[in-house]
C-alpha cells in the first residue's frame, strides 16, 4: 500500500503583493509517496522551481506563499504542516527531513570552504550529539556512496569537476538520510554521459536508503525513464499526472502530448518530432479559461471560458491518473 510522505495541498505562490502580484503557482495539489520518484516537468516559467522553493519555504522575496499546506509525514510520529512551523522547527526540518539538490550545481558549494567543512557543518547543526570522528566517518561514507573518494573531503569546490561537485551535492543531500529529496534540474549543467551516471546512481541509492524524490526537470524523456510517476505543469498549474509508462504511451492532455513530441525518446519506436507552437504564457496576463488554449491545436469554445480542474479522466477508469482538460473523455 502506498503511503504519502509529502502532501502538497492547494498550494499557491505569488510574486509580489496585491494587485500587481504575479501568480506563479496556482492551486497545486500533489502527493509524494514513500520511496517513489515523482517527476515534475514543464517548460521554463511553468512554476516548477517556484513550487520546490515554496514547499521548503526558501522562496526569496518577493515570493509569497499565498495559500495551501504542505503536510509532511515523518516515519514515526504525527504528520505536520510545514507551512506552520516556527523558524527553529523549520531549521530542524530542513535537510534532516527534506533536502534539496539545486539547479546550479556549480554554485551550490561555497567556494571558500572545503567540501568537508560544508558537509560537516550540516551534520553538526542537526546532530550535535555526534562526535567529530563520527561526523567525519558519516560524511566520508556518504561521499563513497556517490562515488567520491574520501581524500576529496579536503578539496575545495574549484578543484572538483562539475560532475564531482554535483555528486558531492547529492551526497550532502543524503548525509542526514532525509525522507524526501527535492531535485531541481540537478543534471542540467552536466553532459549527457555524466547525467545518466548520476541518475543511475541516484536510483540505486534510493533503493538502498529508501528516500522519495521529487525530480524537477524540463527533460521529459529523462523522467519517463527514471521516475515512477510524472506530473506535468503548465502556467503554474498541474495539467496532468500519471504513471510514467501511462503518460508516455497514452498522454491525455494536449500539452503533455506536445512535450513528448518535442524530443526524441531514448528507447522505443521512432516517432515524428513536432514541438509546441507559440511560447509559454505571460504570468502577468494569463489567458482566460485553460491557460494552454491559445497554443492548443484541439482547443474549442469552452477552453477559453472555463478553467478545467484536475480530475480522474472519465474515459480511463484509473484512480492513479488525473488530467485537467475539457476534451471529451477527460475532465467531466
Amino acid at each position: 500500500m502506498k503511503t504519502p510522505v509529502l502532501e502538497i495541498k492547494n498550494f499557491h505562490v505569488d510574486y509580489g503583493l496585491g494587485e500587481e502580484a504575479v501568480q506563479a503557482v496556482r492551486d497545486v495539489t500533489l502527493t509524494l509517496h514513500r520511496g517513489e520518484v515523482l517527476g515534475l516537468a514543464g517548460e521554463s516559467g511553468s512554476g516548477k522551481s517556484t513550487l520546490a522553493y515554496g514547499v521548503t519555504r526558501l522562496l526569496p522575496p518577493p515570493g509569497v506563499i499565498s495559500g495551501g499546506s504542505v503536510v509532511y509525514h515523518p516515519p514515526s510520529g504525527d504528520a505536520y504542516d510545514v507551512m506552520t512551523l516556527t523558524d527553529a522547527e523549520l531549521r530542524k526540518f530542513r535537510w534532516a527531513e527534506t533536502s534539496i539538490v539545486f539547479q546550479g550545481a556549480m554554485n551550490s558549494l561555497n567556494p571558500v570552504h572545503k567540501v568537508s567543512t560544508q558537509m560537516l557543518d550540516v551534520i553538526k547543526a542537526h546532530e550535535p550529539q555526534l562526535s567529530p570522528q563520527a561526523r567525519i566517518a558519516r560524511a566520508q561514507e556518504m561521499l563513497k556512496l556517490v562515488g567520491i573518494s574520501a581524500d576529496r573531503m579536503d578539496a575545495y569546490p574549484h578543484q572538483l569537476s562539475g560532475g564531482m561537485r554535483q555528486r558531492v551535492m547529492i551526497g550532502m543531500a543524503l548525509v542526514l538520510e532525509p525522507q524526501v529529496v527535492i531535485m531541481d534540474e540537478p543534471t542540467t549543467a552536466l553532459d549527457v554521459v555524466m547525467q545518466r551516471q548520476i541518475l543511475a546512481q541516484l536510483v540505486e541509492l534510493r533503493e538502498r536508503l529508501g528516500f522519495s524524490v521529487l525530480f524537477i526537470t524540463h527533460d521529459l524523456s529523462l523522467l519517463v525513464e527514471f521516475s515512477d510517476r510524472i506530473a506535468i505543469m503548465y502556467g503554474g498549474r498541474i495539467v496532468e499526472e500519471a504513471r510514467s509508462a501511462d503518460l508516455y504511451k497514452d498522454s491525455l492532455h494536449p500539452y503533455s502530448e506536445g512535450l513528448l513530441k518535442s524530443f526524441p525518446a531514448l528507447r522505443g519506436e521512432r516517432r515524428e518530432l513536432s514541438g509546441i507552437p507559440g511560447s509559454p504564457p505571460d504570468l502577468r496576463g494569463m489567458p482566460s479559461g485553460c491557460s494552454f488554449h491559445p497554443r492548443c491545436p484541439q482547443a474549442f469554445d469552452r477552453c477559453s471560458s472555463e478553467i478545467p480542474l484536475l480530475e480522474i479522466p472519465s474515459a480511463r477508469n484509473d484512480p492513479n491518473r488525473s488530467v485537467a482538460c475539457w476534451l471529451p473523455g477527460r475532465t467531466a
Partner: protein, 326 residues
C-alpha cells in the same frame, strides 16, 4: 610558495624602482638643498663648509652620478637618510623614528577600528536588508562626503578650547617628557581622542557601504540558499557563508588602506598639529627640506609596498581559488 616568491621578486623590483626615483627627483629639481641651506645661514659659511655640506648630502659635484647612486644605496641600507634642514643637524632617520610611532599608533588603531566597525555594520546592513539598518545608508553617504579637514576644524571649533577636555593640538601635554608612564600615556590618549574620532567618522562609512553592497551581492548566490536549505543557524549562514565571502574584496581594500596610514594622514596631522610623519612632511615642504621629504616619501613607498604584500598574503589565506597548487 612559488606564487609568493614571484610576488616578492616583484615587490623587490618595485622597491628598487621607487628608491631610484627617490634618488633622482631631488637632483632634477632646480636648485639644490645645499643652496637653500646656505640661504638659510645667509652667507655666514665658508667655501670649505659649503663643499663639505655638498659631500654630506651626497651631492658632491666632483663625484659622478653613478658613484653618488652607489653611495645613496649604501646610505639607504645603513638607514642613513641624511640630515634634516628644518631640524639641522638632526638626522632624518632620527626624526622619522620619533614621529612614526605617533602616526602608526593614531592612524593604525583608528584604521583598524574603522575597518572592524564598518565591516560589522556593513554585514548587518547587508544581511537585514529592508530593516531599520537601511536608515544607516543615507547617514553614511552623508558622512563619507564631508571633507576630512572640515570635519577636523569643526571638531576643534566646537569641542576643543582652553577649558575643554579635548586639547586642540599636539600629541601630549607640552610639559611632559615622553616615557611609558601612566601620566604620559593618559595625556597622549587624551590628545588623540579628537583626531581619532574624526578619522573614524569620515572613514567608517566607506567600509559600511562596500561591505553592505558585497553582502547584498553574495546573499543572492546559490550557496547561500543551500546554506539556508541545510537548516544551518542563521548566524552561521550570515558569518561563515555570506560575510566570509563578501569580506574578500574588503580585505584587500583594508591592506591598501594600511599602506596609506603613513601617507594619508597629512590633513589629520596638520589640522591637529599632531607630531606624526604627515606633520613632518608638511614642515619639510614649508622649508624646502629635501632630505626630510625624501625620507618621508621613502617610508610611504615602503609601507605601501609592505601593505600590498600583506594584501597578497591575506588573499592567499582567505581565498583558496587564488592558491595555484593544491
Amino acid at each position: 610558495m612559488k606564487f609568493l616568491l614571484q610576488r616578492l621578486t616583484f615587490y623587490v623590483f618595485t622597491a628598487w624602482a621607487a628608491l631610484t626615483i627617490n634618488f633622482f627627483i631631488p637632483r632634477l629639481i632646480p636648485g639644490d638643498p645645499v643652496t637653500s641651506l646656505i640661504n638659510k645661514f645667509q652667507g655666514q659659511m665658508s667655501t670649505d663648509a659649503i663643499n663639505s655640506l655638498y659631500v654630506l648630502f651626497g651631492l658632491d659635484k666632483n663625484a659622478s652620478l653613478w658613484s653618488q647612486y652607489v653611495d645613496y644605496w649604501g646610505q639607504v641600507f645603513r638607514g642613513d637618510l641624511g640630515l634634516s634642514f628644518t631640524f639641522f643637524p638632526t638626522p632624518v632617520a632620527e626624526i622619522l623614528r620619533q614621529s612614526l610611532p605617533w602616526t602608526i599608533a593614531l592612524v593604525g588603531i583608528t584604521t583598524f577600528a574603522s575597518f572592524m566597525i564598518g565591516t560589522s555594520l556593513g554585514v548587518l546592513a547587508g544581511w537585514r536588508r529592508g530593516s531599520i539598518m537601511d536608515g544607516l545608508l543615507p547617514v553614511t553617504t552623508f558622512l563619507s562626503s564631508i571633507p576630512y579637514f572640515w570635519l577636523g576644524l569643526l571638531a576643534i571649533t566646537l569641542l576643543a578650547g582652553p577649558d575643554s577636555f579635548f586639547p586642540s593640538s599636539g600629541g601630549y601635554e607640552p610639559g611632559l617628557v615622553p616615557s611609558w608612564n601612566a601620566e604620559f600615556i593618559g595625556s597622549a590618549v587624551q590628545h588623540s581622542l579628537l583626531p581619532a574620532v574624526t578619522i573614524l567618522i569620515s572613514s567608517v562609512s566607506g567600509w559600511i557601504l562596500t561591505m553592505r553592497n558585497m553582502m547584498v551581492t553574495v546573499a543572492s548566490e546559490d550557496y547561500i540558499t543551500v546554506a539556508h536549505a541545510k537548516g544551518l543557524p542563521e548566524r552561521r549562514v550570515m558569518v561563515s557563508y555570506a560575510a566570509r565571502n563578501a569580506l574578500l574584496p574588503n580585505v584587500s581594500g583594508f591592506a591598501l588602506s594600511l599602506g596609506f596610514i603613513v601617507g594619508g594622514t597629512l590633513l589629520v596631522e596638520i589640522v591637529f598639529s599632531y607630531p606624526g610623519i604627515g606633520y613632518n612632511l608638511f614642515q619639510a615642504v614649508g622649508s624646502k627640506d629635501y632630505p626630510l621629504m625624501q625620507g618621508v616619501f621613502l617610508v610611504i613607498t615602503l609601507s605601501v609596498l609592505v601593505a600590498n604584500l600583506l594584501a597578497d598574503v591575506a588573499y592567499l589565506l582567505l581565498d583558496p581559488r587564488t592558491r595555484k597548487e593544491g
